[in-house]
């Protein structure tokens, strides 16, 4: 069966203004809205479109995370994924651990394409896709803004890079990571949420997959960023130029 595996991470919703706990032990997450990482929604949307065009038969979503992550897996199923794999783990899951777990799922499910987000908007690591591709010894095409399958063996990917747009061809299977402009994810309709409740969701553990939850980077301290001083209002372009000249900027 032609499968696509999509990695999903549960993160603090992008609209939430994050606050650091006064004791520096972390950020406040109690009662904060959690969502599927926006880049992962884009990854899932791309997988669904490929399936709808006849390019794949099954779309699987997978996550490594705490029990609560089931909510996000259900939203992914409601969006249209066929089934979900939940590797339960609490605490810090470093990209290497997430990638090792995803690799185990890849070995089991044999997808021809793995699509992840380019970065999780909580830790902003931007590593997991590349680490997975390295461990799997397969191609990576990161920051994709266009993905085209050329038959069963090759994908052509346009990447958003600092210089502009780069196009690569990669043999399949491969790991793709999504950038914002790859697509616009669909909205979930109410009946789909009902249907999603009946879709298969399998729960696994890191231990059962034989992956050690090693933490190589201790999270020593969280701080709020330095605040910028609030500036002044100027009344028109002339005053602006005058002020900038006075400060030696112009």
């Amino acid at each position: 069966m032609k499968r696509i595996l999509v990695g999903i991470k549960r993160v603090v919703d992008f609209n939430v203004r994050i606050r650091v706990r006064p004791d520096g032990s972390g950020v406040v997450t109690d009662g904060v809205k959690m969502s599927v990482n926006p880049f992962d929604e884009i990854a899932l949307e791309e997988a669904l479109r490929i399936k709808e065009r006849g390019g794949a038969e099954e779309v699987i979503v997978a996550t490594v995370g705490p029990a609560d992550t089931q909510t996000q897996l259900r939203s992914a199923l409601a969006m249209g994924a066929d089934r979900a794999l939940h590797v339960q783990a609490d605490g810090v899951i470093e990209p290497l651990v997430a990638a090792r777990a995803l690799l185990k799922l890849v070995e089991r499910e044999q997808p021809f394409l793995v699509i992840l987000g380019k970065q999780a908007i909580d830790d902003d690591n931007g590593q997991t896709g590349q680490v997975l591709a390295a461990l799997w010894n397969r191609p990576q095409a990161t920051y994709a803004s266009r993905l085209e399958l050329l038959g069963d063996t090759t994908a052509r990917v346009t990447r958003e890079v600092d210089a502009g747009l780069e196009t690569l061809e990669v043999d399949l299977p491969a790991v793709i990571t999504t950038d914002l402009r790859l697509n616009e994810p669909r909205y979930v309709k109410l009946p789909d949420i009902m249907k999603a409740k009946k879709k298969p969701l399998e729960t696994l553990t890191l231990a059962a997959l034989g992956v050690e939850q090693r933490q190589q980077l201790k999270l020593a301290r969280f701080e709020p960023p330095p605040q910028r001083q609030k500036g002044i209002r100027v009344k028109d372009a002339a005053e602006l130029v005058e002020q900038l000249k006075k400060k030696g900027i112009l």
Binding site: V12, T142, E166, A220, I232, I249
Partner: protein, 313 residues
């Protein structure tokens, strides 16, 4: 003593300034011995430039036709082959470095510290998380090799004047053929590079069209500035993707940043936190961009920008 390997970024002819910023980051590791690795088809020009960076002990030049285009899957095994004796392996937090270094980390089974903005010790690093709304200090397990990407806006470029020895090294590892470079389309704007420009004028959704952006190009020319854009402007097709500033675009630190018709969403502000002076021009006096602006001007940009252009021209 930290032994740092820096992976050079270049286009085959010229060393990218991002490498000089990595050198400054490495120099913040006290007593570090710094080596730069240059992988290219022909390493001569780039290795010579790398050798001039102050504080560099030596340059390793890995010449291989497979390195004509920078492909992470091809470069990573070569870096790993060199990485053995090093305590730290650093690259720039540019799309090149982010793509490559995490693959290196994966092959090494090493932890990666992304977007290093400060170094507290050889094992303690500061980095932004949550779009820069929190700063995290991480502490690596003692004895593990640390891979890192260096946040460009946090380090000045190391100066020239050095003369490190250049060693040609042959790396005999099998390189994959599963990834092929097809093309890169980089629009030549003739304007300064957004990542390094001292002045940047950026436009948002309010510019309304690619045509509308022209008033910014014209002002930028007068100011000798690069032009940036918000995500909304790029999504709408008013500006190309390489102009996007923010959490998922470019993180910049110009002397002067002029935000025109940009509301100031947190994802955008992440990209400009280190700008020396921020000017905001927006018709909505309540727009969040004014919270971070040193100089705020409330009004219609289509009236203000031409005025401004006259005044600075």
């Amino acid at each position: 003593m930290p032994k740092v390997l820096i992976v050079a970024e270049h286009d085959g002819a010229r060393l990218n300034v991002s490498t000089a910023r990595c050198v400054s980051c490495a120099r913040a590791l006290s007593g570090a011995e710094i080596t730069i690795a240059v992988c290219a088809a022909d390493t001569s020009a780039v290795a010579a430039q790398a050798a001039q960076l102050e504080g560099v002990a030596r340059v390793l030049a890995v010449a291989n036709p497979a390195n004509t285009h920078a492909l992470a899957a091809v470069l990573a095994p070569q870096i790993v082959a060199l990485a053995g004796p090093f305590t730290h392996v650093l690259g720039p937090s540019t799309t090149y470095g982010k793509d490559l270094m995490a693959r290196v980390a994966g092959l090494l089974g090493a932890p990666q510290v992304s977007d290093i903005m400060g170094i507290e010790s050889p094992t303690r690093f500061r980095r932004p998380i949550y779009a820069g709304n929190a700063i995290l200090t991480v502490e690596a397990e003692p004895g593990v090799k640390v891979v890192g990407t260096v946040r460009m806006a946090s380090f000045e470029a190391a100066s020239g004047g050095g003369s490190a020895p250049i060693e040609q090294v042959a790396v005999s590892v099998k390189l994959p053929a599963h990834t092929r470079f097809i093309s890169v389309s980089a629009a030549k704007s003739g304007r300064p590079d957004l990542l390094t420009a001292a002045r940047v004028v950026s436009g948002g959704r309010a510019l309304g069209s690619a045509e509308g952006f022209k008033i910014l190009y014209s002002l930028a020319e007068k100011l000798g500035a690069a032009v940036g854009a918000s995500r909304a402007a790029v999504d709408a097709g008013y500006a190309p993707n390489e102009m996007q500033v923010g959490q998922t675009g470019k993180i910049i630190a110009p002397q002067l940043y002029v935000a025109v018709g940009i509301s100031g969403a947190i994802q955008h502000l992440t990209g400009i936190k280190d700008a020396r002076t921020i000017v905001a021009i927006n018709k909505d006096g309540e727009a969040p961009i004014f919270e971070v602006a040193d100089f705020g001007l409330v009004g219609d940009l289509f009236q203000i920008i031409p005025e401004l252009e006259k005044l600075v021209g």
